[in-house]
Symmetry: C2
């Protein structure tokens, strides 16, 4: 099992907290994603992350750009898993890298708005 400090360092280096908002419909749809991408030969670490967080999936990610090798991506998109596993972990183990910490704080704020079914985008301060 991975050590939690190690996971924090790895996520600070390579992790991503992503929010996408589709506001074309009357009610905005908010999608949340926590992910981490590694080269294909390092897939076993993604499996250990999956074991560590007790959630998420692993996907292949092809990249046709020069000098970009085949990668795999560990990803959590399920809201229940985001709320019960991902957010509590990073609340207890706050990212040390300022820009990652800021990403997480915003991710958490938007997740909270989305949870409350209170999807007024004007409430989100970026």
């Amino acid at each position: 099992m991975l050590n939690k400090e190690y996971v924090l360092g790895l996520v600070d280096g390579e992790g991503s907290f992503n929010v996408s908002i589709n506001d074309k419909k009357r009610k905005a749809k908010i999608s949340l994603r926590f992910s981490l991408k590694l080269r294909h030969q390092d897939k076993e670490i993604l499996e250990k992350l999956q074991e560590f967080f007790e959630c998420g999936n692993i996907y292949i990610q092809r990249d046709k750009r020069a000098n970009h090798s085949l990668c795999y991506r560990f990803e959590v998109q399920n809201k229940k898993e985001i709320f019960e596993k991902i957010i509590p972990f990073f609340e207890e183990n706050s990212p040390l890298i300022p820009s990652r910490k800021k990403d997480f704080e915003l991710f958490k704020e938007i997740a909270s708005l989305s949870k409350d079914k209170f999807q007024d985008l004007d409430k989100i301060e970026v």
Copy 2:
């Protein structure tokens, strides 16, 4: 002070073990570099890495490509520091990511050849 497991995770995510060999002269010149690059707003973590490893320098790294922000790079190139600080740390705290571990093992092997003034490049198995 950063936790060593955190440092290991961060280096697994974003670190780099680099070797450059100039064999244009009769005796090959081997340069070793351990480095880690972060966005400019995260420079304080590089300062903490410098404090953690008790060596290295921090440089600005401009990148003119689109979508690439201004970065800073923590870098250790001094051979004494590589041998006394960097290699011992990663020998005791082996990278968990397979490709990073392979990079380090090769880095260490080439460093060892370079230390012995025995710079026969045919001896290095890549």
